[in-house]
Amino acid sequence: MSGGPTYYAVSAIGRDRPGIVAAISRVLLDVDGNIEDSQMSILRGHFAVMLIVAVPESKRSELQSGLEAVRAELGLEAMAVNEVEQLDRGEEPTHVLSVYGADHPGIVHTVSEALADRGANITDVQTKLSGAGESPVYVMLIEIAVSGEVEQLREALAAVGEEAGLDVSLRELGAEAL
């Protein structure tokens, strides 16, 4: 057996309050763990944490018991620790897709299914519900890695947008649009 670290996916969510990141990172430091990639953000008042951490194999049980203690102490709604395979960073996004329209159920699914059907890999999704009262506007930005025909994808997305009453625009990432 090699002496290298074991990789874990740690995910947690709880009502937002000061100290969640500090408590989780304290446990990771105590077990000589290293946070390799992370995303943490407030979603509608809940603080969501996703981490990939490298921890020495000998500290496995300490990691799990330490994080469970944090969950109980801070009253978090969920805490999961799962061993994962060590992987490369994954695909880099090539395009960004803006999708917006009057809010209705199924926007995320309709668009993501169209992308999946054409082999476009989603690398990031952000959504926001904007606008008050009677006409809320749903805004979604999706980063995707496109390996095939961009024009075919653009046409397919335009058709999906038309059918679902959404405004869709696909741009190359980082390209200057002046």
């Binding site: 803006s98 917006y100 329209g101 008050a132 006409s135 805004v139 930005l141 405004d167 625009s169 980082g174």
Partner: protein
């Protein structure tokens, strides 16, 4: 001449490509744009489709705006077309038709625009406003120009409360 109601997204007219403006429309729509813009305190620019008029006319006036380092005064541009653009800068924009949001948008910093009455050169904040309004004539909103909701798009608390964005 009249102060008109501003269309709000998702009104479909905001996503249309506008037709070239003919002289009578240029005059009447231009006057309504100026009146409507003048009735809104924080407004630096407005485009005909925001009034439901699908013709290529915009009005911009940044002369009172603190961010404007240079200004051509009141501009009413018929059939405007960007013929030169250089420079690139990210700046915060708002839109009267998307009143709850502001966003960081990358735009050219120096432009030359041809229009029915001649040619105008704009820089900095004025160039940003003119480009934002010309986008409206092609059904393009700032949401079509941002790359990240987390980094670049912000909920506006209310008009007048936030000093940075300018309502357009």
């Amino acid at each position: 001449m009249a102060v008109r109601e501003i269309l709000l997204y998702p009104d479909r007219r905001l996503k249309e490509v506008c037709a070239p403006a003919q002289p009578p429309q240029l005059e009447s729509v231009g006057a309504d744009l100026v009146d409507t813009m003048g009735s809104i305190g924080h407004c630096s620019g407005i485009a005909a489709p925001q009034l439901g008029e699908l013709v290529r006319v915009v009005a911009v006036d940044v002369s009172e705006h603190p961010k404007a380092e240079s200004s051509n005064g009141l501009l009413v541009l018929g059939n405007p077309r960007v013929v030169e653009a250089e420079g690139s800068e990210v700046g915060r924009e708002g839109c009267l038709s998307l009143p709850d949001l502001t966003a960081n948008v990358r735009r050219a910093t120096r432009i030359v625009v041809e229009h029915t009455a001649g040619e105008v050169r704009c820089e900095g904040f004025e160039a940003r406003c003119v480009l934002h309004e010309i986008d409206h004539l092609d059904g393009v909103l700032f949401l079509d120009r941002v790359e990240s909701l987390v980094d670049d798009v912000f909920r506006r608390r209310s008009y007048g409360e936030e000093p940075e964005p300018q309502g357009r």
